[in-house]
């Protein structure tokens, strides 16, 4: 095996050319890395910065706008963890809290629909798990191209089977979602996944790698060459013709391993064996090591050759960048290590001590005695570039808005009306979605009170008291295309209403912002407007965003998707027996019910 690029070597070969541009870094971003390190980065360090400073991980284009969610948020005593954590945590009773979040897995699902969607579910579930919660349900807002298009027929069955395959095998009921068709999603379907979990308040977990001398443990699957560079290439680059060869290998999910990971983590939490924990998602070890260390302002010493590999020939930068699924990073006190390993073994999950927490404030990684990384972890996590991107209202907006619905011909007379109604309810966007939802297990765990086709999913949380939650996710790209500010507000209002009519009192909001390229000023304008709309809407309703995700670069060539903010609202129900299903209940009052129309 050839010797890796070491810190020493980097110091003595300052002029060596490095492929920063290919890794998605700009010239001045690269210069900034050199300034931080006082030398050129090693190959491993360059890979780490390129991933952590990518749009996907650093939120460099969205950060300045997302701030409004916190700035405009009303005070909320229920919020135990908010934006900046793996997922927002909201207290719902003296003892219990719930955590929920929605995330995107759009590009991987276009490349390999089944695995892309499956690993999307797996990823969001690990976020929930990392907060100390038992995941208890999933939802899946989906967008596809024209229903008749051959590529939709390739993508859709795989995505639905993948969402179901992973969620069903994990034993998580699917309690709602969306299936929307529009030609704008043709080359860029949206696969968003939401998960919710429940935890005793005192089981809340932190990601901080505190306590010098504590052990860093990698738990779960072996590391392979999955999605190497996936973060920077797959999630942040557009699909043009040239990108075909650059597609990294696809991640394959193993829901069985994830189920074991869930059970072992919960047992570790309950036994009080964990100081800190972080899931490995996009950016893999790089993200988990730097985020846990940076959060504690600590240092870390990692022996990379200890990482269990699926392919022994992997080089250090590949190990650091791998997006292999079903892994978690634990920080454990040395005297508890044996107990941790024992619980992992009980569940048949690999657990390996790969490093330790240090005082130094540096993340030092060696590989067979070669020092390949020596960085301040905060520089990767917090000191990434931040951009105020130019914005401009799309020039076609005036025309689009002028083309009003009032100008469309209207059906006249009973027959024409009947024909129109029949055509509408038979259309792919409005028709019954059972053909999708019956591929999902809605019953597992035995607490599903309402699920598809109800307005909101309702879950019983506490069997004794009947305490439960209602959840809905909504979005409308066509409204948002016409008016991103109000489109985002409308998505929020719809989810809010859905929760309310099911009997829930809305208490928290999550969101996944699916947009085109932030380098396009008109997309950036749409984004800024949507964020402003959502933040204002939340403020008006007296509710706050507790977490979410931004997905940029959803476009094919120069054509961006409609701006598609997807909003999830969580509501509280004191007694789920009082939930309100849609439709007329046949049993109680077969006849004579009065029908009211509320509002204008």
């Amino acid at each position: 095996m050839s010797a890796p690029d070491t810190v020493d070597r980097a110091g003595s070969t300052p002029e060596e050319l490095q492929p920063f541009a290919e890794l998605g870094l700009l010239e001045d971003e690269y210069q900034r890395i050199r300034d931080i390190l006082g030398r050129r980065p090693t190959q491993s360090e360059l890979a780490m910065y390129s991933i952590m400073w990518s749009e996907h991980c650093s939120y460099k284009s969205s950060k300045v706008h997302l701030k409004q969610f916190s700035e405009k948020a009303p005070k909320n005593e229920r919020l135990l963890a908010g934006i900046g954590e793996n997922a927002g945590v909201i207290q719902i009773s003296d003892e219990l809290a719930v955590t929920f979040k929605v995330e995107s897995h759009n590009h991987p699902s276009f490349v390999e629909p089944y695995q892309g969607a499956a690993t999307g579910v797996g990823g969001i579930v690990r976020d929930i798990l990392a907060m100390g919660a038992r995941p208890i349900a999933v939802m899946d807002p989906l967008r596809f191209g024209d229903a008749e298009h051959p590529d939709t027929q390739r993508v859709l069955p795989g995505v639905v089977a993948g969402v179901g395959g992973y969620g069903n095998c994990l034993g998580l009921p699917n309690i709602g979602g969306e299936v929307v068709f529009d030609p704008c999603y043709q080359g860029n379907p949206l696969v968003n996944a939401l998960s919710i979990g429940v935890l005793p308040v005192d089981r809340l977990q932190k990601k901080e790698a505190t306590g010098a001398g504590n052990i860093v443990v990698l738990l779960g699957a072996k590391t392979g060459r999955d999605g190497i560079g996936g973060v920077s290439v797959l999630a942040s680059a557009t699909f043009d013709d040239g990108s075909e060869q650059r597609r990294p290998s696809v991640q394959v999910g193993d829901p069985f391993m994830e189920k074991l990971l869930i059970e072992s983590c919960l047992e570790l939490y309950d036994a009080g064996l964990v100081v800190g924990i972080q899931d490995l998602g996009g950016a893999g070890l790089t993200c988990a090591l730097t985020e846990t260390a940076a959060a504690a302002e600590a240092g870390m010493r990692v022996w990379l050759e200890r990482v269990p590999l699926r392919e022994p020939s992997m080089s250090p930068h590949e190990i650091l960048a791998s997006e292999s699924q079903e892994r978690m990073l634990l920080i454990v006190a040395p005297e508890k290590l044996d107990d941790v390993l024992k619980i992992a073994d009980k569940w048949g999950v690999l657990a390996t001590a790969i490093g330790e927490v240090t005082d130094g404030g540096r993340l030092v990684v060696t590989w067979n005695d070669h020092m390949v990384v020596d960085v301040p972890p905060g520089s990767l996590v917090d000191d990434g570039p931040v951009y105020h991107r130019p914005m401009r209202e799309p020039s076609d907006l005036i025309l689009l808005r002028a083309d009003r619905a009032e100008t469309l011909p209207r059906p006249v007379g009973g027959d024409a009306l009947r024909e129109t109604v029949l055509r509408m309810i038979a259309s792919p966007n409005l028709c019954d979605k059972t053909w999708v939802t019956e591929q999902y297990d809605r019953y597992v765990l035995g607490n599903t009170v309402l699920a598809q086709p109800e307005d909101a999913g309702v879950l019983r949380i506490d069997e004794q008291t009947g305490l439960g939650v209602a959840l809905s996710v909504d979005g409308n790209g066509r409204y948002a295309r016409l008016d991103p500010y109000n489109g985002a507000k409308l998505a929020l209002a719809e989810a809010y209403r859905n929760v309310a009519v099911a009997g829930g009192k809305p208490i928290s909001v999550t969101n996944c912002l699916n947009f085109g390229s932030p380098e396009d000023p008109t997309v950036m304008w749409q984004f800024a407007e949507a964020v402003r709309g959502l933040a204002d809407g939340c403020q008006e309703l007296g509710i706050a965003v507790s977490g979410g995700n931004v997905s940029f670069y959803n476009q094919t060539g120069a054509a961006a998707i409609h701006p598609t903010p997807v909003v999830g609202v969580l509501g509280l129900i004191d007694d789920v027996a009082t939930r309100v299903p849609i439709g007329f209940t046949p049993s109680a009052h077969p006849e004579g019910d009065l029908v009211f129309l509320l509002g204008e």
Binding site: G224, S249, V252, F256, E311
Partner: protein, 82 residues
Amino acid sequence: MARVVVDVMLKPEILDPQGQAVANALPRLDVTDVTSVRIGRRIELEFSGDADLDRVREIADKLLANPVIEDFTIHADEQVKA
């Protein structure tokens, strides 16, 4: 009549959870000398006339295998041909 067999296996670098699960189960049957298990699909196509392997390759590439994560090999099944 000809029979052609298409063997479809996950690419070596792709995780094979199925094979993994079987490999982990083998020690319980007192089998300890198996170092790796990979599980794929064996697809037998029966043709009414002669089989054109180039066409089978095309079918495999388009329909039988998923080239993003799988490799395949094709061979005529001798048993039937005989």
